[in-house]
């Protein structure tokens, strides 16, 4: 009989002991045991907690890197959109103020012609572009159209050695010829040394030649020196247009230019 009851008595004893311990939890000995075992647990688990921390940090690191890469791409896109927005606003203002009828065009490539230094734009005959149309940017003269396709056109830049145009000093009103100069700049030739030319003077299109209307900015004088014979000035111009960053241009519709 006792042997049959023994397991149940053992369980009863274990239950009573456990209940006594539970009820005595707030007593000083129990509190001391809990605080000491807690200290041992915290101290002992520290090295292993570091391992767990490293594992979770690696995972978090991977996720953060991915997120950073995505955000970098997004930031670059937004930055590009902001610049494009600014450029397009400038173009809108320029177009609104212009006395000519302007055909906007986007630069889509470099001119494939090996002789001409130029650009390819996405406006053509269907848009009203014709050969020898003047091409300008928001800050000044870019060049002229030298070949037209139905939906595209090739532009000869002012920087091309084969290109030249008539210019005029804004202040002194002296006429001369603008051509490509050294180091990606422009030259203003034919101005006699009797004319007063200062660094910082602007050079505009004179309208002579029939392609470029009068008054379009070409460049700014950044160096003046007399020629060897002393009769003419050798004038270097800084172009008004940044040819390295051209993305959009305007083509002046030929029939909108005053004769």
């Amino acid at each position: 009989m006792l042997s049959l009851l023994r397991p149940y008595l053992l369980w009863l004893l274990a239950t009573i002991l456990a209940l006594i311990i539970i009820l005595a939890n707030e007593s000083p000995p129990a509190s001391a045991i809990r605080s000491r075992s807690g200290a041992v647990t915290v101290t002992g688990s520290k090295p292993f907690a570091r391992i767990l921390d490293v594992v979770s940090m690696l995972d978090e690191n991977r996720k953060l890197r991915l997120r950073l890469a995505k955000m970098s791409v997004q930031l670059a896109d937004e930055s590009e959109c902001r610049f494009e927005n600014q450029r397009l606003r400038e173009m809108l203002v320029f177009k609104a103020k212009s006395r000519f009828e302007l055909i906007p065009a986007e630069v889509v490539g470099i001119c494939p012609d090996p002789v001409i230094r130029g650009l390819l734009v996405n406006a053509g005959a269907q848009d009203g572009v014709s050969v020898n149309s003047a091409v300008v940017g928001t800050s000044g003269v870019v060049g002229r159209v030298f070949r037209v396709n139905p939906t595209s056109a090739m532009i000869q830049l002012l920087l091309d050695p084969n290109m030249g145009m008539a210019g005029r000093l804004k202040k002194g009103r002296e006429d001369g010829i603008v051509q490509a100069g050294p180091h990606g700049g422009l030259r203003f030739d034919g101005v006699p040394t009797t004319a007063k030319v200062d660094v910082g003077d602007s050079v505009l299109s004179s309208g002579i030649g029939g392609i470029f209307p009068e008054g379009l900015p070409i460049g700014v004088v950044n160096q003046v020196r007399p020629s060897l014979d002393g009769w003419l000035w050798e004038i270097d111009l800084a172009p008004a247009v940044d040819f390295e960053r051209l993305e959009e241009v305007f083509i002046i519709r030929e029939d909108s230019v005053d004769g």
């Binding site: 397991p7 053992l10 369980w11 274990a14 539970i22 809990r34 807690g38 688990s45 292993f48 907690a49």
Partner: protein, 175 residues
């Protein structure tokens, strides 16, 4: 016997260390398996429910101490759960089937958690029934699946293990 006791104590200590120290790695949806309950039931299956009762009581008390909860709560819950589940284990003829193990693990884990939660909700505004549903039942399921995994693993002899240490002779054989 001393060697066996020391070996069991070492295994229990290791499982306690894993459960408390690395429980977060075993966690699924905030639920962890009770490795010490599985350990206690294995002892009950191999050595009788009295041995399982003692193993459950001691492992419960150690768990209470290192996890900074009320001393005695898990000792009470685990020892009771293992003891009453042990009755069914003793009635099984030969090796229990896998589904029987599953049910036994499920019932014992749920019983343990139900007892522990009685003390857990004291002094709080937590609902006992919702705690059973949200914590006790998922823990019981996870523990049952973990226990069945251990039991179902094949052994070198080709036989499924009944207890942690297989008894060569059972107490029934001695009567």
């Amino acid at each position: 016997m001393t060697v066996d006791f020391l070996r069991l104590a070492a295994i229990g200590g290791l499982l306690l260390f894993i459960q408390v120290g690395f429980g977060s790695l075993l966690q699924i949806g905030g639920v962890r398996p009770d490795l010490l309950l599985i350990f206690s039931l294995m002892i009950a299956a191999g050595r009788g429910r009295q041995a399982g009762l003692i193993a459950g009581w001691l492992s419960g008390l150690m768990q209470d101490a290192v996890s900074l909860s009320y001393l005695g709560v898990y000792a009470l819950g685990r020892s009771t759960a293992v003891f009453w589940t042990g009755i069914w284990l003793e009635r099984c003829e030969g090796q229990p089937k896998t589904w029987v193990w599953l049910v036994l693990f499920l019932i014992s884990s749920f019983t343990q958690e139900a007892i522990v939660d009685i003390f857990y909700v004291q002094g709080t505004d937590l609902s006992y029934s919702s705690l059973l549903f949200r914590s006790a039942f998922p823990t019981a399921v996870y523990t049952a699946l973990s226990g069945v995994l251990w039991v179902a693993l094949p052994r070198p002899t080709g036989e499924k293990r009944k207890g942690l240490i297989v008894q060569k002779r059972s107490r029934r054989d001695l009567r």
